[in-house]
Symmetry: C2
Subunit: 373 residues, 2 copies
């Protein structure tokens, strides 16, 4: 299948803003590599650079963290909604967030690309620029990769990090009595996706009030987070140093990911209802809910329906890649100011399973599962 | 596109030997993970296992080697020619070979899988068994991964290795006066692919003399190497310890990969013609050529044409993943007995570019380039 025959997703050939240039199928592999590798971010810890059988990366800690995430055209991104630069930044950012969630600093990425032969070389160059955007200031860079042809774009990223002597912060360390903390945004990516699905693209021309609103303020911010999230990477090691007992990045929705900490730790994680009045030191989820209600209002006329939609985004929307962590109550005063307390950890009662509760009840919806059709 | 509508490649749904079982789209992600992760090989150097945001792997050397390779259904494998177990073993083996080619021992792999929703769970389980086959005895295991749905199977593997204090053996270290050495087989994978393309599948029933021959001896061995190569992994660190000045694994053909050492080192690599009578200590490529001539004879009636085809497989066929290395002449007596001298390195003459020569001449054909259509 050539891109020109593409289905609902227009494919890279239709990406806006590229000079048409050559297609990757017109170049040999070495010429293609020469066209985009200079645009990739450099790793500070690189000992032997890309171009040999392996890269060699320093691991001064004597251990390294490693994680991998794959993005598939049509499943994780659409090239008519996101530029190559957005997609590259997103692919890097969601991987970098996994390193932060262990309490580590990212050092090196390797990237496998599957590209249709008709993909413009300029599209691949923009993808490389997106990786550079996401890695800027982190010290991490792309140290290796592989190229193949295929019908759809697939981007498989493996990321590495250095713990700097820290104990890795696992999902399994939450203890009864801990507080639950979140750093970053919740629901923005889900809201941005919903706007794009409704045809409200802040980059498209479009007329009418809704289209104009999509180009401004919080709506545009949500679309930007959907296209390329900005996880709070430096908060990962900071939360680890502040004593995080468990941590992960929220990729599949707050409730689903909180449930993962609960089950791994054998405890109950109670998330406070966004509507609950915040108590002393409890900012909770109300700020996220309040920010997203106007965005939901662009898609639901009824105020109650809009509030329900915003609530769903906050509780079950993934891919903002904020950090969810637990702390002993005494550690809370050491937390970065960006950390918000959103719940508490308690022991299981007799006969009760480990899991997540919302406002004291089992939540109806959890969030995203990649495999159920 | 569902697998049932698949094109020339029947897709995993048609893979033989599996009980039909459930399809991956019928399971949630966690149930699918539970079905195959116990079958994956365990890593000896694993500090924090898969299941958290990252795995943590020991890097006792203070550095780690990393490389990545992606396999795409229809481009790198066909599910009607290879079982899932073959494909898993191949994906692992070609990655492990990159670690060996640096002079390192493999420690950990991460695997991103893109699967059609209709893929049988049993197929994924067999894929995991193939990874276990390839990693057996190496100490390496699968420490993490990611799953996504997509129209075609994509397997992106990232592999890590430990140098154990060794200097990494790069492509750029070959010096004038060095000898060129190969360990492993050449041309077997290309011959196996050619047999399958000609309809001579040793696992298929088939009648007639050629089909019967495909099921025996060297022909069957070639098909086995195509399906899942067995790179000489332990030879990598052994060659490094013996003083290899440059090394890589032959993935794209002897001449193309020898040219990479030549250009990276700024020298001329002269490969001896397979037909040349071996001199003292020079076994050369004649053994590979002699082994493959009967296989080529199954595809070409004319003896000269068969010999030319076998020669092409030996010189330009990739994916046996043997090790190509250079050594100072004094080091040759230290080499493992499996090492064969196949050429020599000399300085460039005035006006001459770095590159590979075959029997003193610029070769007409080099080998495989993934991107040219």
């Amino acid at each position: 299948m050539s891109i020109a025959e593409g289905a609902d997703d227009g494919g890279p050939a239709s990406a806006g803003g590229c000079t048409p240039g050559a297609a990757v199928g017109e170049l040999g592999e070495e010429a293609l590599l020469a066209a985009f590798t200079p645009l990739l971010p450099q790793a500070e810890q690189e000992v032997v650079p890309s171009g040999d059988d392996c890269a060699v990366v320093a691991a001064p800690d004597g251990r390294f963290c490693v994680s991998t995430d794959v993005l598939v055209q049509g499943e994780h991104f659409r090239t008519d909604w996101s530029t190559a630069r957005d997609i590259g930044a997103r692919a890097a950012a969601q991987n970098l967030a996994d390193i932060a969630a262990m309490g580590a600093h990212p050092t090196a990425l390797v990237v496998s690309l599957v590209l249709p032969r008709t993909t413009p070389v300029a599209w691949v160059q923009d993808l490389a620029r997106g990786f550079a955007d996401a890695c800027r200031g982190t010290g991490a860079g792309v140290v290796g990769g592989d190229l193949s042809v295929g019908e759809r774009v697939v981007i498989a990223v493996t990321v590495h990090g250095d713990l700097g002597g820290r104990r890795p912060v696992l999902r399994s360390g939450a203890r009864a009595g801990d507080v639950v903390v979140h750093v970053g945004t919740l629901g923005r990516s889900a809201a941005g996706l919903a706007l794009l699905q409704a045809g409200l693209d802040d980059r498209a021309g479009g007329s009418g009030e809704a289209a104009a609103t999509a180009r401004t303020g919080i709506a545009s911010e949500c679309i930007a987070v959907y296209r390329a999230p900005s996880p709070p990477l430096s908060a990962g090691p900071a939360l680890a140093d502040a004593g995080a007992t468990a941590m992960l990045d929220v990729s599949d929705g707050l409730l689903r990911d909180a449930g993962r900490i609960a089950r791994a730790s054998g405890v109950v994680v109670e998330i406070a209802e966004p509507d609950d009045a915040p108590g002393a030191g409890r900012v909770g989820l109300s700020a996220d809910l309040a920010a997203l209600e106007p965005v939901a209002g662009m898609l639901r006329e009824d105020a109650a329906a809009a509030r329900a939609l915003a609530r769903q985004w906050v509780l079950t929307g993934g891919e903002d890649h904020g950090l969810l962590a637990t702390f002993a109550p005494t550690a809370v005063r050491e937390l970065p100011t960006s950390a918000r307390v959103i719940g508490a950890v308690r022991a299981r009662r007799v006969g009760e399973e480990a899991g997540v509760l919302l406002g004291g009840r089992v939540p109806e919806q959890l969030g995203w599962d990649h495999f159920r059709a």
